[in-house]
Symmetry: C3
Subunit: 348 residues, 3 copies
């Protein structure tokens, strides 16, 4: 790889000092770095590709996604939080996910009230992220990850279907009674649909698992997300695929609902865990030990997705990124004080 | 204001050394300071007015309230906890709330068993408060607030309706199935009653919101609580009204159940948050920034009341002060390291 | 007591350096110390008696119990965790409980898949215990206790009855609708069975409470567990009996379901709390104050068992050791900074 191309990869150095020339362009750069941080990539080009993927999937979702992300960047400046973190997108990505979540669960599209609603909900994640960084990361040595997104998201999803002006899409937020019956394990694209061939179903499950890291169930989004990750780091793209495969594989081994597996729900937590833990800019240096750690963590995250999903189903909500967040926090703590694992100096 | 009157306000200095002359009178002073601390006021005269309000509302509740509060003060002495905190009422107010809660949810009145029950439950909050102060406040820099009350309260409310000698008022503790239907938004004094004029409903909602900081739905209590706060601090009284207004306003904006809003349930968390965060003896110094912070925190507390209410409704219990506690903890952390906010030296 | 016998008691010194002579024998010694640590006893002879009790109760459960325990010891070595802790059984006992839990809730017996399943689930508790020790014990001064067991156990019990290859015994994991009816308080050995005489019922409840510290409802196991504790410490055996009595007594006082009380469910958390807090190698030195603390903590743990049981019943799961863990953590924090309580130097 020549040096020009290498500058575009990893933490993308060319625009790192952009804010010194133009405050406005700096906030744009921070926003797209933040969008990249949804999957732990500090690279505005990757963020641009992720945003494009969502625009292509549904323009209204793309609009809310970018608007919410930009609002978070501005709000972090307003609150005078540390510049270096703002510029790395650390205060932005939780809000990116919050606004995207509301694009999925609120209805109708192209509604000005929902735009305002999404921007406010996204912005609330900024002080919550700072609170998490102060308490968890600085005082307790635990990465905060997307915990603020999950907390804001669950809080919103619990309330909005029960108020008159909540814009909730009730069809997506209905309580599910807990039943202890054996599910239909066949991989299939709809709940009552016909199964697809196994190999096709597995490939779909893996790609859709990568897509679900952005809360969307779409092979096109999955492929574009992989391209965006690949642009920044080949290892991270491989980790995303392996993590999603581990999660989907665990779902198949346990005999989970094949519709859930097909849709990527068993894969996304694993993809997040693997990218977060394993890679040149990940929490751990890429070694054999951290590779195994990432795989085990991905499997545990998928298992916890299943458990928390059962816990939350009677309330009509889903566990969002909580399974990934909790398991990854535990993995980081579990590796401290063991000689088997090497942390990257700039993460944690 | 002349200096004699000013001595009666704020932290009420005349009795601060009372325990040096009489241990007994010291415990009385601590107890009424603790009753004042229910709404973060270290002033026994305010506490006296609050206790009076509850006696007027229902004498049996007043008896349990004062007895539980006094038991906590004594128990804190028995456990040899720091004198300065005992004398400020810090170990008392959680138990005040616990005993008042049991006065509301246990039946019948004037029952000796319930008196004993309330005193024991209140006393348990004392070591729990110390545990919170050691872990949260000292080690993690988070205010403990009324977390012990919420934990003891929820623990008791979950169990007592399912045991034979729990004295539970089953009518108030029935599970509510989660329904995703649009609620009746009209402000009204009973669930199936007629709506009141909007302006009257809003005033009722705000005053009852102040009353609900003491777990009671009564305009008389609301007004007396305001008088008690006013005696200590004009700013705090204004903050209570603004906080309650913000919460009730958010409920109206979202289209929450108008019966809940009317009864002050959307206002009390906001009132608590605003008094706790904004004022001469509050966590933050009163500035424009901390004013906006208090308003945003009040709105978030009200929103979280709605969400946690939905979460707990199928269990037949209510979130007590948990929404206020969690949001206020987050607000304190979110303000740390930002130049926008100034902490009062003696709080935090 | 002569010095030879005294060597066998307490922390059992004769094998403390066994790993220096034989790595294999060292892992065996660590494993049985770990089994002893289920009830906070660092003594492989006690562990041997506990394992024997479970083999006698149900050989398949004994096999899973020992296999899961041994797997944890090996896994802790593989992860290069501190040798001293491994040798005290600290990394083993959570996995002992996890594998025993799966022996109870999975079906059929003598199934190779379940053996593998139990070993993997047990092993996951090892890094989780290390995470707990790093975060809770080292950074926050809170004992981690069997929190990892409860977290792994609840995660597994929530998911397995809803997947096709989960081996779940559905009869034991059915959701229970929350009903606010007065339960049958008569002590009795089956849900719809006839009551036994009160005195017999109380004795059964106490002994079965000790048995339930190992998740089993059996007077034989209860007696053998007492013998195992007695071998290490007379005070600890007395504490187990008193703790179980306190819990059962509270259940009777509150009017809890007599079938639950009879089966030891109201006693086991109290037994765990009392042994953990009071004794020569417990968290507190045995004094009058710590005795009262242990009794109050036992009562609170039993109360929380009732509450959390109600919270979890609609999900078809039980609170495992969570009530004991949470209350004991709070008790340790509540005693810090009070002159009334003396900590043992080597615990905490």
């Amino acid at each position: 790889m020549n040096s020009t191309l290498s500058q575009l990869r990893g933490a993308f150095t060319p625009t790192q000092r952009l804010h010194e020339r133009s405050a406005f362009l700096g906030t744009i750069d921070s926003t797209f770095r933040g969008i990249g941080q949804v999957i732990f990539i500090n690279n505005p080009l990757s963020g641009l590709i992720f945003a494009l993927a969502i625009f292509l999937y549904r323009p209204w979702a793309g609009l809310l996604f970018v608007a919410g992300s930009y609002a978070c960047t501005l709000f972090a400046h307003l609150l005078d939080y540390p510049l270096e973190r703002i510029r790395s997108g650390i205060y932005t990505f939780n809000g990116s996910l919050v606004s995207l979540l509301l694009a999925n669960f609120l209805t109708p599209q192209w509604n000005f009230g929902i735009l305002i609603y999404a921007i406010i909900a996204a912005a609330i994640s900024v002080p919550l992220m700072h609170a998490g960084l102060v308490l968890l990361t600085e005082r307790l040595g635990i990465p905060t990850l997307s915990l603020p997104f999950s907390l804001v998201g669950l809080t919103v999803l619990l309330l909005i279907p029960t108020v008159a002006y909540g814009y909730a899409n009730h069809a997506l937020l209905s309580p599910v009674a807990r039943v202890l019956a054996s599910p239909n394990v066949a991989l299939r694209p709809s709940h009552h649909g016909d199964p697809v061939p196994f190999a096709e179903g597995v490939v779909q499950a893996i790609i859709r698992g990568v897509s679900e890291t952005f809360l969307l169930n779409s092979p096109l989004v999955g492929i574009l997300v992989l391209v965006g990750i690949l642009l920044s780091s080949t290892i991270s793209a491989a980790a995303a695929l392996v993590g999603s495969t581990v999660g989907a594989g665990l779902g198949l081994l346990l005999g989970a609902d094949g519709y859930q597996i097909f849709g990527g729900l068993w894969g996304y937590t694993g993809a997040l865990a693997a990218v977060c833990l394993f890679g040149p800019t990940a929490i751990f240096k890429p070694t054999w030990s951290s590779g195994i750690l990432a795989i085990v963590t991905a499997a545990c995250a998928a298992f916890l997705f299943g458990s928390l999903g059962q816990y939350l189903a009677p309330l009509g909500v889903v566990p969002l990124s909580l399974p990934f967040v909790l398991v990854t926090m535990a993995a980081v703590l579990a590796a401290q004080g063991s000689s088997r694992f090497s942390f990257n100096a700039d993460r944690g």
